[in-house]
């Protein structure tokens, strides 16, 4: 079974802090994604990566950056957390087809 793990299930941070969300997949997938999920808005793509050291902006990249130094690991970074970044963050990976994505359990981030 494909397994996508995320470093934390719940996280509470203060405004202005730098936040790292880690994601690891064990299926040797080239493609990895970061989404945020908010009530009424569904899943919105923040960034994705189709190879090591490669990254592409999604629909809402502002305030976020990513890092992919190894194939199995994709990190989401909030450079300076703000309250409007309080959300559920979901990581996913995919091989082929790209739309068959395997999601982690999510990290619920609260910024106070």
């Amino acid at each position: 079974d494909v397994k996508v793990t995320q470093s934390s299930r719940y996280l509470v941070k203060r405004t202005g802090e730098k936040v790292f969300l880690e994601c690891v997949q064990d299926m040797d997938h080239e493609n990895m994604f970061w989404y945020r999920q908010d009530p009424g808005l569904g899943l919105r793509l923040i960034y994705f990566s189709y190879d090591v050291k490669m990254k592409e902006k999604g629909d809402i990249p502002e305030g976020y950056s990513v890092s992919r130094e190894k194939k199995e690991r994709f990190s989401l970074i909030l450079e300076s957390a703000s309250t409007n970044q309080t959300s559920m963050y979901l990581c996913a990976s995919a091989g082929t087809p790209l739309y068959e994505q395997y999601f982690g359990p999510g990290t619920r981030l609260t910024v106070t």
Binding site: V4, G40, L41, G42, L43, R44, L45, F48, Y50, E56, L90, A92, P97, L98, Y99, E100, Q101, Y102, F103, G104, P105, G106
Partner: protein, 115 residues
């Protein structure tokens, strides 16, 4: 603009009945349509896909219907069980846009099962 939407945000059905979850889409160029299931406390899970040149696809207890004339997608779950309680998302694969695959998710429908 282009969007994937849902007709009903919540759906409540009796255990053992069939469930039908609907979805409207607007991009006629999408090549695949996908359904995901998200149980409480978990990430979304791929259920089934359908290619745009098909109008029906069946899986285990699930059937996807695609009506391209009215741009409508539905997920039918037969003999609904308590384990089917979840939020269901439709998504459309809009192909390559600006060098990247574009997968657009709908807002989701919450399915609850009454005993």
């Amino acid at each position: 603009g282009e969007s994937v939407g849902l007709h009903l945000p919540t759906l409540s059905v009796q255990e053992g009945d069939n469930s039908i979850i609907n979805c409207a889409y607007s991009n006629s160029a999408s090549d695949y349509f996908i359904w995901y299931k998200q149980e409480s406390g978990k990430g979304p899970q791929f259920i089934i896909d359908i290619r745009s040149n098909m109008d029906k696809r069946q899986g285990q207890r699930v059937t996807v219907l695609l009506n391209k004339t009215v741009k409508h997608l539905s997920l039918q779950i037969a003999a609904t069980q308590p384990g089917d309680s979840a939020v269901y998302f439709c998504a459309e694969n809009m192909g390559v846009i600006q060098g990247a695959q574009k997968l657009v998710f709908g807002q989701g429908t919450r399915l609850t099962i009454n005993p």
